[in-house]
């Protein structure tokens, strides 16, 4: 499927290069499930002169790709809201949005304001919200009923039966679990380093308790479905997918709050099809299209009443996971200041290289 798209893309670019065609091409750089075929077809039917090319990626690779070209090669990207401010200051790969061209009236005000506040540089807004979701815990209720906090992954009663991804999410989750506020410490990097050192000690001691670090949704799902692990750190969408197959596997917002991310729309600095990009943004935020999108992503769109636009099985999974109190307890990822990636990277390396308590 990706191959097909890639070949289609390759063909399209060759044709484009050969003949200065009338049609416009919208080159999307986005997440695996954020451009379902159905929606792309519908969009191309509505705007016959626009062809959509999709490249699937993730936060880090999106930024690496754009950085390599100084923001050329794509017309619309979808990084998370905390990956814009510092990245823009450092590498200058995005351009400001023209908010008058985006229909923001249907967007959930809290999320819109949050993203705007996080991505405004010199009075210009660089991103608007699209999908949002959380990172938290997933547990098999019958085998690990007591998993309620990040630290429970290190509980010896589940020895060899828990997992996590060795990335920044677990560092932040553990910091909250130890009573710290890492986001507040972003302002004082010495303090943040102290927190990271504490978290590293905890996670190194915890290594023995884990079965393995998961690397992607697929291996996490396989371990969880087969019962090889009973609890893990997870993205909520992965947990919802498993809930559809096994009602015992639920998403558990940790008691210190699930960590919430918002994937945004941002425009690469040398993008060429701005109008088409604005059309895509407005198109996918229309309620009936949000439905198609959410069915594919498994996450909620940043529009009002997003929960009702989820497919029924996903809605059930969300209801099984979140109470209103959990929602108000969410911790939104704060902007990553320059230098923090390096500090976190070093901490993660330290944890990976440590040989545990054996």
């Amino acid at each position: 499927m990706i191959m097909k798209l890639a070949i289609a893309g390759l063909l399209a670019t060759t044709v484009m290069a050969a003949v200065p065609a009338q049609a416009e091409t919208l080159r999307l750089l986005t997440w695996g499930s954020y451009a379902p075929e159905e929606l792309v077809k519908k969009f191309e039917a509505k705007y016959p002169d626009i062809t959509v090319e999709v490249t699937f990626s993730n936060n880090e690779e999106m930024i690496a790709k754009l950085r390599a070209t100084g923001g050329a090669g794509f017309d619309l990207a979808q990084p998370s809201h905390d990956r814009i401010f510092a990245v823009q200051q450092e590498y200058n790969i995005y351009k400001p949005l023209d908010l008058s061209k985006i229909d923001t009236s249907g967007m959930e005000a809290k999320l819109l304001d949050g993203v705007k506040a996080n991505t405004t540089i010199d009075g210009e807004v660089y991103a608007v919200p699209h999908q949002w979701g959380t990172s938290g815990l997933m547990a098999n209720k019958t085998m690990a009923p007591d998993v309620k906090a990040w630290g429970d992954l290190c509980d010896p009663q589940y020895k060899g039966k828990t997992s996590m991804r060795l990335r920044r999410t677990i560092l932040l989750g553990m910091a909250f679990d130890m009573g710290e506020d890492p986001f507040a410490a972003y302002a004082d990097l010495d303090k943040y380093q102290e927190i990271l050192d504490k978290v590293a000690d905890k996670l190194i001691a915890c290594k023995d308790n884990l079965k393995a670090y998961w690397k992607g949704g697929d291996d996490l799902s396989a371990m969880m479905m087969s019962g090889e692990i009973v609890a893990s750190e997870t993205w909520d969408s992965t947990a919802y997918k498993l809930y559809a197959e096994n009602k015992d596997i639920v998403f558990v917002p940790p008691k210190t709050g699930a960590l919430a991310w918002i994937d945004t729309f941002a425009m690469p600095r040398k993008g060429e099809a701005d109008d088409a990009a604005y059309k895509w943004i407005n198109f996918v935020l229309e309620p009936e299209n949000v439905k198609i999108m959410s069915a594919s992503t498994g996450s909620m769109a940043a529009v009002k009443g997003a929960k009702d636009l989820l497919p029924d099985d996903k809605k059930a999974a969300v209801n099984a996971a979140f109470t209103d109190e959990d929602i108000s307890n969410l911790q939104f990822f704060a902007n990553i200041p320059a230098g923090v990636e390096d500090m976190e990277g070093k901490t993660l390396e330290k944890i990976k290289a440590a040989t545990g308590s054996e």
């Binding site: 690496a64 390096d342 990277g345 330290k350």
Partner: protein, 289 residues
């Protein structure tokens, strides 16, 4: 005069694709990488020239420990591939009949038709706790609890040996193939027994193949990414993973580029050391086999 022009023209024409390949795809990118590796980030969008990235590598034990670990595991893989590959190559080249030889060679090639990723997933399906091997052992009554074979260094080494053994077998078969059977017969006629013939006649003759196979296998292993990542466990860091992390998750191209060069320097050094120790040169081995 005309003859010489034609000669020169054909040399240029024949050499051009190779020269373009080397310059455009190997030399230029490496120069660019080398330039990046010498930049130090002092503030957003400001860089200075210096050796900081290289100094960082030596100052941080985690980095060079990982490099040494990668190097020693790669050497182990090379040795295992040689020990396993030599008898196979010998059988194909010397013992198998003309007709079965082609079929055997083809069978060795088959794993290469499948991509690295699929092969790694194959191992995962076989070896995981709820996987085929573990459940068959339980079914046969040999063990009563599921066993996890995945996520440890032994699995990584096995996966790597499986992936690279072909690159050991091919040069060995072609060198052994050129060896006259009468040399072995003569060895026996002069009173040598199996091990002596192997040590004094076959191995010295196969040396070019052994060395070139070892070089290829070592380089491939030290530079591999997917197999160690997918099969490795909580503690198994691989140096290529560090390079990926520097480039992608930490946006630190400068130190990623420096790491890349250090890996290149390290593997070249090991190969050079291996050649010196075995008393071989590139001319007498790789160029001949």
């Amino acid at each position: 005069m005309k003859q010489r022009d034609i000669k020169r023209l054909s040399l240029i024409l024949l050499f051009a694709p190779f020269a373009l390949w080397i310059v455009l795809l190997i030399v230029l990118p490496h120069l660019g990488m080398f330039y990046i590796s010498l930049r130090e980030k002092v503030a957003p969008r400001t860089y200075e020239f210096g050796l900081e990235n290289y100094i960082n590598f030596f100052a941080e034990p985690i980095y060079w420990n990982t490099l040494i670990r990668t190097g020693s595991m790669s050497l182990l893989v090379t040795v295992l591939a040689l020990l396993l590959g030599f008898p196979i190559a010998y059988y194909i080249a010397k013992i198998a009949g003309q007709r079965s030889r082609g079929a055997l060679f083809l069978m060795c090639l088959i794993p290469l038709w499948v991509s690295d990723l699929i092969r790694a997933f194959g191992w995962i399906l076989l070896l995981r706790e709820t996987g085929i091997i573990s459940s068959s052992l339980q079914w046969a009554g040999l063990v009563n609890t599921p066993i996890e074979f995945l996520y440890n260094d032994a699995t990584v080494i096995m996966g790597l040996v499986y992936t690279v053994i072909l690159f050991m077998i091919v040069p060995l078969v072609s060198t052994l193939d050129g060896m006259d059977d009468s040399m072995i017969e003569a060895g026996y006629n002069l009173g040598g027994n199996g091990p002596t013939v192997l040590r004094r006649i076959i191995i010295p003759y196969a040396m070019p193949g052994i060395v070139s196979g070892c070089i290829v296998v070592f380089m491939l292993t030290a530079g591999s990414y997917l197999t160690p990542i997918l099969l490795g466990g909580k503690n198994s860091s691989w140096f290529t993973e560090q390079i990926y992390d520097q480039f992608i998750t930490r946006y630190n191209w400068e130190s990623g580029a420096a790491f890349g060069f250090l890996l290149l320097a390290f593997t070249s050094l090991v190969v050079w050391g291996g050649l010196k120790l075995s008393g071989q040169t590139l001319n007498s081995t790789v160029a001949r086999s």
